[in-house]
Subunit: 115 residues, 3 copies
């Protein structure tokens, strides 16, 4: 992974492009789990936005995205996985501060915490 | 507010996360006012994007956002207010130039103007 | 164009604001062409995200966008053209690396290639 190779600890990530297979999720706050949806079609990556932080000393990627369909409507949410086609144009911008992340049992998600 | 504390004058702001109460608006250009919509449910913050500029010498936040529902559809527009849950991951990137903002009577919105 | 004036070679571009005429496109990967849709109404620019790269030695702009309607729904895709109203707040962030772009006959789009 680029973040590990380049020793990026904390960064902003933004991308546009296309995908031909995608898994999105919505966080169910009552059940504390992610509800997943799979899409098997070509979608424009209208926006992927998120960050790289350190979890257990390793880069952790957290991305939300908006994906455009043929009729100009969208699906959007927490990105679980994506298969890129034909390309994804990504800008990774390291931040001045380092942010650490860990799993929070009360909330049910990986949160950034104060050090 | 962070911008005032850190003496940020002009910056780009980008965020992802979640909210459980949200007020969005659409600018009605004929009536020159914002039409507001309130959402009382957990929504993924798929994208919040905007800027901090100086208005009357104080930091002024202007944010537009896309928010994801449980069925992967979205609501989107000008962000009036939002209640964060469980967290909002924000990257604030100061710009080299300073931008000033003031209310423009003709248009009916706060605009960035040339100095 | 700002990129040529400021000698920007590769940059990230992000913007919010409003438009009153817009042409969006979806890439049809079977036919290898862009299917265009035109909108003649005021839309909030919820997110415009993309990049400037060099194609044949000249700045080339590639932008995807999400645009908000009066009912808080969106249209989104590859931005072909847009008429700004009342303003577009753009942040252009030059990257450390230079990216070059050229047309790829196999895929049917302008791609960034390794040098």
């Amino acid at each position: 992974m680029i973040a590990a190779l380049e020793r990026v600890r904390t960064a902003q990530v933004a991308a546009i492009g296309g995908v031909d297979r995608l898994t999105l999720a919505y966080f169910n706050r009552e059940k504390k789990n992610y509800e997943e949806h799979v899409y098997d079609e070509y979608l424009e990556v209208v926006s992927m936005l998120g960050d790289i932080t350190l979890k257990d000393g390793k880069p952790f990627l957290h991305i939300h995205g908006t994906f455009g369909k043929r009729d100009m409507s969208v699906v959007a949410g927490h990105v679980v996985s994506a298969s890129v086609f034909p390309l994804l144009e990504v800008v990774i911008t390291p931040t001045k501060n380092t942010a650490l992340r860990r799993f929070d049992d009360d909330v049910g998600v990986n949160v950034i915490f104060k050090t």
